[in-house]
Amino acid sequence: MTPPSGGVLHGALALIVLKTLDAMGSLHGYGIAQRIQQVSEDLLKLNQGTLYPALLRLEPRGWISSKWGLSDNHRKAKYYSLTRSGRAQLSSEAESWERMAAVIARLLGAEGL
């Protein structure tokens, strides 16, 4: 499958990152990328050049927080985790995504008629 176009991905990326952190707790950038790739069953291969700016976008909004820590194999890595307001943002964004998805599904279905 061709990866979804940048525009859609851009809005969705925040949602995906937030959801990933919600599911996994604290995680470093590499872990987030791996996890997304895993869950999407390799359909969504994230360009690193997209992931890090996205993380940077989310942090000053207060949705995620970061701190330096040690990885499983004792490497220094920056760990990101979801904040309380990030959790709220996730639920509201997920809701609006579902609504949007339903609308688009209905539109695509209607076109078929």
């Binding site: 470093h28 360009n47 890090y52 700016p53 976008r57």
Partner: protein, 880 residues
């Protein structure tokens, strides 16, 4: 909220770039490490694993760049980058930077200095609450040129103050009173009505305003101190309120202290405020009563026009009460306090501001052509930047940022220039320019400077910013300024235009000053000293005491060596301060009185014998006063030539009789006629004048005397003698000694100040224009080196090459000069009221200004043109 938070965080990031950069690096490295370890786990060799990780990751630098764009506020970030770059460029070309910054500093500095002076005069509000609602109102009549009201009619008026919310009054002029205790000192006392401060909206910082019962005759005496006196004499002691001081020998209680910024609405000096204590009954009993200056506070929203309409009933009433002779010459005068204070400073202020803006314009034009020249020289750099992907907007921004930086540096240097100029202004400025002493570089003025710098930067930065680098420049081909060559000469022409206007205006003012200084005063002022003695009324309350004092002083001075003339009078020409009456009050015996009107004002003075010879005024007929003329039985009068001609035509006036002031007093006999003397300043038309002997009739007081001494001895020595003789008689008397030439000179101070400033600006303008022309021509010659080389190789003579260069400049100079002539023709008209015996369109002056400017232009162009003449064709052809 969220947006703001993001913005703040990014703003902070700007200041911690390095730390963020390191952190990002570490994070990306960690990512790569994890990725390659994963690969190793999958069985790759370490080297291979690292390379695979790198491939999978994509461009590290691109990620960083994307990250950075995300992080910073892109515009600010890149503007800072532009700034650093601009600074480097400036440092690399110090000569250009120095010329540009000095040019700007001169323009901006002069503008700032003038602005800080005129700001106080034109734009700032007065230190009263709602000062826009305050007006000065009253009547004007031939003998009192400022608006006034008379005691009795004011007392009626203030009961129903017509269109005003509140009205108040004060006794006009700078009255004196003395502190008569330890360290006696003479003060400027303002006699004001009880509601004076409350009408102006001024509150004492300590204590209170006067009470109604304190503003009555015979009430207990009270006073309010002005801030400077409170500080200087009483050390700012808050306990002064309630204390008693001795004022003019009477115990006076201090009830309040005024704020530091207080000033009288008439701008007369005042150190202490005292109730005027108008005696209502006396005012009614003996009309016309006291002359008062009156001020009113308009109701909110009211206009001056409405007030004028509202005052019509008052005007009609006043006219009915006035003597019939005055009726046609009484007018109503209403003006806002602001207008009244600055009336004659306004025009001069605008003219100075205008001329200094013209200088600024020339300075900006200069920097613009410098920038333009550099832009052409930097075309290759620009072309490279375009080739590397810089957008047009980015280049324009870069150019603008460079100009801004220049503007800022120029503005900073300009503040220094302004500070120096301001000190110069204050030291050479005459008395009576309102609020000049307070002018300074405060926040408001500095923000003005900053705004001016930025606007000028935009003005001179725009032209080079819009230049479009041609791709040809990239391959090293030299681009000659041929296509857009219009812009540069236009700048030259504009400079010449502005300079012509400045020169023409300065020339007119200088010419007018020249005329003014050569105006005959009717006196011989060389070697004449004057001493102003003003007797305190409480020490010399009666006329005989005053006359006695002056005759004693005269007797002492007469004994000094080297004195060739000595006299006393109550006032001195040529300043306009003297006693005056109306022509209708001078009635020659056997002549028909003036049928209608007042006939205008007539000046008069009380003088002792010897007045005319001491001042060097010729007595053209009859004789001077003598000792016996001061006897009570004698009633002589001396007329000025003009007054004699008005009263008696061609008849011989000596021996004729007349009556003064409609009195049933004895007839006065004309004993002499004196030559006319300027008596209304140097500019205004002189009034006809007469002289009465120095004695107790008809004057009521001779407390102020002017001692006139003509001397053969060194004036400074005589001045010291005069001082010691006066203090031997009364050590408490303040004495002011001036040379007569000095007194006359004071009258030309104002015009001299204006002329000096305008000449200064015209000089700066012309010098800047010369530098600008030199720069442009030098640049054009450098650009045309190859062309000139070709021409010379083909046989052109050096002379013809020089003519070619010069002709280019002259064409534009003539264009600019023609435009300048037209502008000067219109702008000099604005100067009209500042001029004295000069035609506004003086062709000689205009031609002089033109010639001067053309000479400067040719000189400025000649230096680089000579360089063109010496171009070696071989060198020029190998130039590229």
């Amino acid at each position: 909220m969220g947006g703001l938070r993001v913005f703040v965080s990014r703003l902070l990031d700007l200041f911690r770039t390095r730390r963020l950069e390191e952190s990002l690096d570490a994070e990306l490295q960690a990512h790569l490490q994890l990725l390659s370890e994963e690969n190793i786990r999958r069985g790759m060799a370490p080297q291979e694993a690292r390379e695979a990780a790198r491939r999978a990751f994509g461009g590290v630098e691109q990620t960083k760049e994307a990250y950075r764009e995300q992080r910073g506020i892109l515009l600010i970030d890149s503007v800072m980058q532009d700034f650093r770059f601009a600074l480097r460029i400036l440092v690399k070309s110090p000569a250009f930077a120095a010329v540009a910054i000095v040019t700007l500093a001169l323009g901006i500095g002069a503008t700032t200095a003038v602005f800080s002076v005129v700001d106080r005069i034109l734009f700032r509000s007065l230190p009263y609450s709602h000062d826009d609602r305050l007006v000065a109102f009253g009547l004007t009549a031939p003998i009192e040129k400022d608006e006034f009201m008379l005691g009795a009619s004011y007392i009626d008026f203030r009961k129903t103050p017509g269109p005003f919310e509140q009205v108040t009054s004060m006794i006009p002029g700078d009255s004196k009173c003395d502190i008569t205790e330890e360290r006696p000192v003479r003060l400027s006392c303002a006699y004001v009505e009880q509601g004076f401060l409350s009408t102006l909206g001024v509150r004492p910082i300590l204590g209170r305003n006067f009470r109604l019962d304190e503003d009555r005759p015979k009430a207990a005496r009270v006073a309010i101190l002005c801030f400077p006196l409170w500080k200087s004499r009483f050390g700012g002691d808050p306990g002064m309120v309630g204390k008693t001081i001795s004022l003019d020998g009477a115990a006076t209680r201090i009830v309040g202290i005024l704020p530091a910024n207080f000033e009288m609405p008439t701008l007369t000096p005042a150190e202490i405020l005292v109730p005027q204590a108008l005696d209502e009954e006396l005012q009614r009993r003996a009309p016309p009563g006291a002359v008062l200056r009156t001020f009113g506070r308009m109701k909110p929203g009211a206009t001056v026009a409405q007030v004028i309409v509202g005052l019509q009933p008052f005007l009609e009433q006043s006219l009915q009460g006035a003597p019939s002779a005055f009726r046609k010459e009484i007018h109503l005068s209403v003006s806002t306090l602001h207008d009244r204070q600055i009336h004659d400073a306004r025009l001069a202020s605008w003219i100075l501001l205008g001329s200094v803006f013209a200088v600024l314009l020339v300075a900006c034009t200069n920097v613009a052509s410098l920038q333009l020249a550099r832009a052409t020289a930097r075309q290759r750099e620009l072309a490279v930047r375009v080739a590397l992907g810089a957008s047009r907007g980015r280049l324009v921004r870069q150019a603008l940022v460079e100009s801004m930086l220049l503007g800022l540096l120029g503005g900073l240097a300009g503040c220094l220039v302004a500070h120096l100029l301001l000190r110069l202004f204050v030291s050479i400025a005459p008395q009576g320019i309102p609020r000049l002493q307070q002018a300074g570089l405060d926040l408001r003025v500095v923000s003005f400077t900053f705004a001016v710098s930025m606007v000028s930067a935009a003005v001179f930065g725009l032209a080079p910013a819009l230049s479009d680098p041609s791709p040809g420049a990239l391959i090293g081909k030299e681009v000659r300024a041929t296509t857009r060559s219009l812009l540069r000469p236009t700048l030259v022409a504009a400079q010449i235009t502005v300079s012509v206007v400045l020169l023409a205006c300065a020339g007119l003012l200088l010419r007018s000053l020249w005329n003014l200084q050569r105006t005959p005063t009717g006196m011989e002022t060389e070697r004449v000293l004057t001493e102003t003695v003003s007797l305190a009324e409480y020490r010399y309350p009666k006329l005989p005491q005053q006359i006695d004092f002056f005759s004693q002083l005269q007797a002492r001075l007469k004994a000094l060596p080297g004195i060739t003339g000595l006299a006393v009078s109550d006032t001195l020409p040529p300043s306009g301060q003297m006693r005056s009456t109306i022509l209708a009050a001078v009635e020659p015996e056997g002549h028909v009185p003036i049928a209608e009107g007042t006939g205008g004002s007539v000046a008069w003075r009380a003088v002792t014998p010897g007045y005319f010879s001491a001042l060097g005024v010729a007595v053209v007929r009859g004789r001077d006063f003598q000792e016996q003329d001061s006897w009570p039985s004698e009633n002589p009068i001396i007329l000025s030539e003009t007054l004699a001609r008005i009263l008696f035509g061609k008849e011989d006036p000596v021996g004729k009789q007349l009556r003064l002031f409609r009195q049933q007093s004895p007839q006065r006999i004309v004993i002499g006629v004196a030559a006319d003397v300027r008596n209304n300043g140097l500019v205004d038309r002189s009034d006809p004048e007469f002289y009465l002997p120095w004695k107790d009739d008809p004057v009521e007081s001779l407390s102020t005397g002017q001692i006139i001494m003509r001397t053969r001895t060194e004036p400074t020595v005589v001045a010291a003698w005069m001082r010691s003789e006066t203090s031997a008689l009364d050590p408490t008397l303040p004495v002011k000694i001036e040379a007569m030439t000095e007194r006359v000179g004071q009258l030309t101070e104002r015009p001299r100040f204006n002329a000096m400033l305008l000449s200064l600006f015209a000089g700066i303008g012309v010098a800047l224009a010369a530098v600008g022309i030199y720069g442009v021509v030098a640049f054009l010659v450098a650009q045309q080196t190859r062309e000139i080389g070709v021409r010379m190789a083909l046989g052109a003579s050096p002379q013809s090459v020089m003519n070619l260069v010069l002709w280019n400049v002259i064409r534009w100079a003539i264009g600019g000069a023609a435009l300048g002539l037209i502008s000067a023709w219109f702008s000099t008209r604005l100067l009209q009221s500042l001029l004295f015996e000069v035609r506004v369109h003086d062709p000689v002056l205009l031609i002089l200004a033109l010639l001067l400017l053309l000479a400067v232009t040719l000189l400025a162009a000649w230096i680089p043109a000579r360089r063109a003449m010496r171009v070696d064709p071989m060198v020029a052809l190998r130039y590229e």
